[in-house]
Symmetry: C2
């Protein structure tokens, strides 16, 4: 039965996994999936990403590598030492699953609906073709949710 | 590019999430997805499930509830107090993501290939139309992997 999901979609598009050493972990995922080791990417500097963590600007960046479980993206994330949702979770819980992501439209409204469900906005920022928000849903869903919206946005 | 994955598939079919109170968490997932609260199921007793945890028989069972992120199944798991991969993880790490699952064929060979990659067999058992094995891949992939095979099997 197709429902009426809060975020306008029930499709999870990405799993985020925190790692200490992205080169090492990328080799393991490449071996598991039988694919070449992908290039490591880096999220934008503050001037581009405008990253806000717990409501304050942060210079935090992370290294990223992407794999695919079919059409489900697996994002490996190695954060730097600056304050971020990634660094905090890595220090508190170690390596492992960090978030499940949904591609949505109308970010502000979706953040509001998440907050109505008791989720808390942890971090937001931009990449070159979109913007994201991490919502803490650990009390209710026992995961962190990332909302991703493609487009050009001011935040 | 389509690779040659170790488990014969690159498609992740299920996310497993440990919870303390499956009725409460089911209501939250049902609200998120706009679907009715599904019935809580119970895994089989030892006589049917033949559950082996760390190589020894265990009477462990768990309550389960299933949701769907599109074609990705979300399994909520509330374990009982008997020794199991679920109980251990819930006590060590609390509620949250437990495993990613792949539907495979030729279980014994796939377990062997996982072990060749350094994974460790944690638990296995049967349900009424298949069998499963949990492999600890936390050192390499930073997750627990569950292999699921449909069919009737002796273990």
């Amino acid at each position: 039965m197709k429902g009426n999901p809060v975020f306008g979609t029930e499709k999870c598009t990405q799993l985020g996994i925190l790692v200490h050493d992205i080169e090492k972990s990328s080799k393991e995922y490449a071996a598991l999936l039988g694919v070449p080791v992908p290039p490591v990417q880096m999220t934008g500097a503050y001037e581009d990403a405008h990253t806000q963590y717990l409501g304050k600007p942060t210079k935090a960046r992370c290294k990223q590598a992407f794999f695919y479980y079919g059409d489900l993206e697996v994002e490996l994330i190695e954060p730097d030492q600056e304050p971020s949702v990634w660094r905090q979770a890595l220090e508190e819980h170690g390596e492992g699953m960090h978030h499940v992501a949904f591609h949505i439209t109308d970010m502000e409204e979706k953040i509001r609906l998440g907050e109505e469900m008791g989720m808390k906005l942890l971090q937001r920022g931009r990449w070159n073709t979109g913007h994201y928000a991490y919502l803490d849903a650990t009390d209710s869903l026992h995961v962190i949710v990332e909302l991703l919206e493609n487009g050009q946005f001011e935040i």
